[in-house]
Symmetry: C2
Subunit: 217 residues, 2 copies
Amino acid sequence: MPKDTFFNLPEEKRQGLTQALLEEFAENDYRSASVSRVVERAGIAKGSFYQYFEDKKDCYLYLLRLAVDEKRAFVSRIPPPEHGLDVFATLRWLLDTGASFEFSQPQLAKIGYRAVLGEAPFPDETLEMIRQGGMAYFRQLAAQGVAAGTIRPETDVETAAFVWNVIFMNLGQHLLGRFGMAPQELLERGAQAVSSQEMRTVIFQVLDILENGLRKR
Amino acid sequence: MPKDTFFNLPEEKRQGLTQALLEEFAENDYRSASVSRVVERAGIAKGSFYQYFEDKKDCYLYLLRLAVDEKRAFVSRIPPPEHGLDVFATLRWLLDTGASFEFSQPQLAKIGYRAVLGEAPFPDETLEMIRQGGMAYFRQLAAQGVAAGTIRPETDVETAAFVWNVIFMNLGQHLLGRFGMAPQELLERGAQAVSSQEMRTVIFQVLDILENGLRKR
DNA sequence: AAAAAATGTGACCATCCAGTCACATGACTG
DNA sequence: CAGTCATGTGACTGGATGGTCACATTTTTT
């Protein structure tokens, strides 16, 4: 946990530091990220940094929790389709929202992505939650679909969850690379970028593949 | 390129050094991997290391090329289904072979995986080849399927390639995590581990999802 | 205004890193 | 045997890192 001094910081200064942290930890994995670079970018003294955070791990976990909170807030802003409806409608909402988040908060998304890949050299419950949360959700969704009869009954829930999860995790990056936006441009255009028709089309195609397969019949 | 001295090394010593390199670069990304740890593990002097390799980058690229070569050799040992046949048969062969390679050479696979994620802080053509090779292959495969009429004609080739590629890249890791094998155990059991019936079932399920979708009809 | 508490600072420390180099050891050659 | 060349070595350099601390500055309390 960051110390009180961090939360007592004037809004502007705290934002500046947070931004420097976001940049550093989005561009580098935990071990390569450098506190020295962060304080340089933020324009504060090394000593000050350690008035705000216990250590490097502390500031990293702060970012992780920030990512979780922001994603929660983001998701709750776009309400899900009514519960119990078609699983594929839920899936569409998920992919759509997930991609939007990636475009709206690319740095937080990247940090979360890194966390899932499991490169931090220490155990932590927030980390574990992020790592397992996605699969758990998709597992439950798949089970629900099987129970409701929307999904083919012979489906293995774990395997379906894997496929969905892996697509979900990588779709944002794919769209980003495919439609060639620099991170800078992203930050300027904001979330509405994803509403571009091209991207919507891709998302729907992906959903269609997951739902109906690729084989012509 | 490693220097001549490296290739002149007695088999045993070269193997030992290579093994130390594999371990280090499979466990750490490029920036975090440490030459000091490598020479310690390999039991040679720091100076000797720099008789064999130009620098850190040189030894890393050696591993990358090794990964490419080994994978090529591995793949050519399990011949593909006849050309021009069902795209899905080719896909099955791909997933199967890919997963087998991951179980047979987990360290090389991991290094390749890291390379695709794009974390090395320098440009290189081998790197670029590894990064784009997968997508290029799947793109061509999808186009072939559309042309042959096996795949639904309205399919966007790029999107199909993305879905296949992302599944292909992550299936090995998934199987590994799911059937809970430690890397050590893996190295002992070798490639035949993947022939376990459980894993085959999962691979076939994944293929089935990609081919026919999940929706019950 | 004085005292006290909180916050800011950058030189400094121990540790690690990639890479070098003067020298030691071995092997081959005339 | 002497001489030459390839290989092995580890102390060392310069630089970066995470983290500390004695002190300076600012803010709050008395």
